[in-house]
Symmetry: C2
């Protein structure tokens, strides 16, 4: 309860501890999130993804700066799942903290590691809910990659933004319809480079084949984040889409997001229960060594864990 109070008072240390708790997962995380949930629903959640090298971090930092000038408070979660081993994201985090972190109206945290037992998408959604409960006006979730995890994370935002850069040439094809379909707003960053018009035309042609059930027409905004250009247009586009969804709520999308959230939570909780009751994390290590040595088959190992945990007894 003390931790919840700290979150609601927007104390950076309490928020950081709460996010570490949800990263670890387990029953402590579950009971914390139970308490947090009733305080959520006020922040606007902005998801930002896009191609590698598109300058997303700078764009997010400058957009946060723009909002701060409007006296809006900002929470940022930077997700970097492509860095499973090294502390790359942590380092970047520290550098960004120096720029933004001295301001009490702005909180930034990166999430790089996915624990063996916890899904990154679930932990990120929990972290966003914590920032929401803490009362930040805007919560920005920024992801580095273009994989399924990133798409899952950005899809759950109130507004999803896809960032591209000029001069990707035919490589934009590889960004593909999948990521095009999640974009409520498209941003061409580094728009002072050659090839802006080509990129814009390519986005338009890809968008023309995507049919949105809600009838929204995603705008294409040009920014040069390093020079603070286009930030107002970007903020206005975000506000416009928010207004649009207030009038035309996309219930199918909201339901799909909620379903995904339930399933993520359920998977994590069940796994924790089975390991706790069935075998313990040391037991997993031993079984893994047997599977690696081809002494046992992973499917029969899983049968055994489920049996031992008492789940299949019913």
């Amino acid at each position: 309860m003390q931790l919840l109070d700290g979150i609601l008072q927007r104390q950076p240390r309490a928020i950081a501890r709460a996010i570490s708790t949800v990263e670890s997962g387990g029953s402590q995380a579950s009971s914390l999130m139970h308490d947090v949930f009733s305080h959520t629903g006020k922040s606007l959640i902005i998801g930002i993804t896009g191609s590698p090298g598109a300058g997303k971090s700078t764009l997010v930092d400058r957009l946060a700066g723009y909002y701060r000038q409007q006296n809006q408070t900002i929470g940022i979660i930077a997700v970097d799942p492509s860095s499973p081993f090294s502390g790359g994201a942590i380092l970047g985090d520290r550098i960004r903290m120096q720029a933004l972190g001295t301001d009490a109206g702005c909180f930034i945290r990166s999430m790089a590691t996915r624990g063996n037992l916890g899904g990154l998408a679930r932990a990120t959604t929990d972290a966003v809910a914590i920032l929401d409960a803490a009362g930040f006006d805007k919560v920005i979730v920024e992801t580095v990659g273009v994989g399924q995890d990133e798409v899952d994370i950005v899809k759950t935002a109130d507004v999803s933004i896809v960032v591209l850069v000029p001069g990707m040439g035919d490589d934009i094809q590889t960004i593909k319809a999948g990521i095009m379909e999640i974009g409520d707003i498209f941003v061409i960053n580094k728009a002072d480079r050659d090839g802006v018009l080509n990129t814009e035309r390519e986005i338009e042609s890809l968008l023309s084949i995507v049919e949105r059930p809600d009838g929204w027409n995603p705008p294409i905004i040009k920014t040069v984040a390093t020079q603070n250009q286009g930030l107002e247009e970007m903020a206005n586009a975000i506000a416009s889409y928010k207004q649009f969804t207030d009038v035309h709520p996309d219930n199918a999308r909201r339901n799909a997001i909620a379903e995904q959230r339930i399933i993520e939570l359920l998977r994590d909780r069940l796994l924790a229960i089975a390991i706790e009751r069935g075998i313990g994390i040391d037991g997993i290590d031993q079984l893994a060594a047997q599977v690696a040595a081809k002494e046992r088959d992973p499917h029969s190992v899983v049968d055994e864990i489920i049996e031992k945990s008492g789940i299949s007894a019913k």
Copy 2:
């Protein structure tokens, strides 16, 4: 058992049906994989990932062609998780099937969709095991993105290859240490473009900060896949790494892979059990609508599903 026989006789239809079965997940998939497992372990599994636009599909097709000339049989799994909604990968699959698929020594299948209840990493590993059991000499797993899912998938291969292209400039930094650490071999494709030396130097400098516990020194191979250049060097590098690991097996890596496999399987199986016993897939839809409308909190919904499935009764 008929399906298993078809797999062992390398019948394309049986293989395709088996992969569809593991994509759906559930107990049918589990019992099939149980039978399949004892026939695995003979193929060399080659994982290929890298930056968008690096020409991975062409490289894989041409490498497969090279192996076919050596009378090696080839199975290919192309993973495209960035395409969650549209049939992009399926279309690409058909085009590639026309080029490769008339040859009985070559099987290609793309996996684009991740079902609500099934993990893509788990389904991909199952599909690779099916091709292994079918007796293909080489099984190539190719992923499109650079997210966590892709890293997880490629990490489980016997040989992991990272493909880059010249002229990525400072964008290579965004590919990051995470993906550098999984590469046993690096390939610079489109090596007839400007900037090859720069890219090579960048890879070398990134590799110099990665410490490999096994002492292997990842080679950097240059290819122009569209002109069949460098394929022999690539195949030789793959053979060299295979020889190296035969002499210096990396048990820690093998154990970590097996542990991840067990956990993936366990998560999928538990989720299927809980939904089947606890609530049904229609029940999830109803609860999701309540959560979306903020009438209920997802954590208490998950508590309820676990309670109803009898798992928490113990």
